[in-house]
């Protein structure tokens, strides 16, 4: 194996692109998925704003988005991506499908974290005269912080993997590089380097995330 032919500048750029894609996707995923998860939780059975219609509809949408393979979602979403991001290519073009795929996933995780909380906390809040907004903002979310942070880390790692897949339709980043050079031009060295960088990224996310969770848990 000879690594001397590798264009390190290109790899650097691709790494940066992957970070951009993952970062922005994660941001929008949390912005959309967190409220969605809270609504799923609140409208669920036996909860404060129990509403079977809302729950069923949201749950169905979430399930559909989660069951469509990401590669298919990428392609199906191209027209919508053009409207949302102005292009279906590059870093910008990858973000809408990444968010569409990760937000429902993250919302489910948030819903589960909230459901796992001791129902006694909600009951105590009601008994103290809190409305549902106050209960969620002042009690449930603070209590769920550790679980939600863990969910963000899991989602971030999933996004790193998905972002690589968006290379298939010209999404840019490390996945794009691995596909074009590593696969189509048989440059195994490029393939190995990109995979190694992805592994390191995921490792850093996990270690950093675990530390953060542990720190929150120590409270």
């Amino acid at each position: 194996m000879n690594f001397s032919n590798i264009d390190w500048l290109l790899i650097g750029e691709a790494t940066f692109d992957t970070l951009l894609m993952t970062g922005f996707s994660l941001l929008f995923t949390v912005l959309i998925g967190l409220p969605l998860g809270i609504i799923l939780f609140l409208s669920g059975k036996g909860q404060m704003l129990h509403n079977p219609a809302v729950y069923q509809v949201l749950s169905f949408v979430v399930n559909v988005l989660r069951s469509v393979p990401f590669l298919i979602l990428l392609i199906v979403m191209i027209p919508m991506t053009r409207v949302l991001a102005g292009t279906s290519l590059g870093v910008q073009g990858a973000i809408p499908p990444l968010v569409a795929s990760a937000a429902p996933f993250f919302a489910r995780l948030v819903e589960n974290v909230l459901r796992e909380l001791d129902p006694g906390v909600s009951e105590a809040c009601r008994a103290m005269g809190a409305n549902s907004r106050q209960t969620v903002l002042m009690a449930l979310l603070p209590e769920a912080t550790t679980g939600i942070v863990a969910a963000v880390i899991v989602t971030a790692i999933a996004l790193v993997g998905y972002s690589a897949m968006s290379g298939v339709i010209g999404g840019g980043g490390l996945g794009d590089l691995a596909l074009r050079f590593g696969y189509q031009r048989y440059q195994t060295d490029v393939m190995i380097v990109t995979v190694a960088i992805l592994v390191v990224m995921v490792q850093i996310l996990q270690v950093f995330g675990d530390r953060w969770v542990a720190k929150l848990n120590r409270k």
Partner: protein
Amino acid sequence: MIRLNNVTKTYESTGRVAHALAGVSLHVRQGEIFGIIGRSGAGKSTLIRMLNLLERPTRGEVWVSGKDITRLGEGQLREFRRKVGMVFQHFNLLRSRTVLDNVCFPLKLAGASKAQQRERAYEVLDLVGLAGHESKYPRQLSGGQQQRVGIARALASRPELLLCDEATSALDPETTQSILRLLLDINRRLGLTIVLITHGMDVIRAVCDKVAVMDAGRIVESGDVMDVFLHPEHEVTQSLLSESGVDAEGWRDMAQSVPGRLLRLSFRGETTTQPILSRITRELGLNVSILQGAVSRIKDVPYGQLVIAIQGDALEQDKLDALLAGEGVRYEVLRA
């Protein structure tokens, strides 16, 4: 203070109707400690949740402080709940917040300023004996201390009524006693009405003025704790009493082998410590044997109950009556 009129609560699931409460009426006076006892599933937890409407009755009225709270709108109900403290079996504290923040929580909901919140929180934490623990997190405290935080939180918004949902059931006996003493102290110092539910007669005996015994969604017996302890009528009451060591029926096993009349004497207050048996033997010339007996206290009042067999040639009923009545001892004849 509290009046429940024929309250029922039914749950429907897959066509079957379950009665959690099957027509409960209840009256609690201002400043009283009212205990509700029953086995699990008797409906006591549903009943206590009727008092702040965490559960809505299917039918019936719930009057608290002169208002039928079942008629309050959502906003009014939240306002009302702020004036009713509640303490839970598993404390239900916010684990992510400090003791101080937990106690400030209800005050924050009520819109008090930061300074007011802190001032009141320090005050109630001092009252429950937790001064100096303000910046700790719940997990750093023992169970008893966590329940004290729960009580402080319940008292923070100066309620007129405190509801205790099995507040001592998750605690060891010693801690239970200290929490019960705290509740008694709060009741006396603040004149707060307390309604508590429990499955232990010891809790009732230690703090309550009145007791209601529940079984299968109904109140089967209620009244002054002393009366219920000395003359339990319903079998559930009797078995709950015997489980906590107050066995009223143990004499029956021995009665066969003992000749003479059997009497049950009930003492309360000062008569408990009077030398009544020796007066019966000396003044009436009767032989007395004790088949069963208990002397204890309900809150601060001593009470006792003795089952005795009396033998003697010349049993003069009038004199015995006069002697016992003179001492203020009530008795019933178990066997003539």
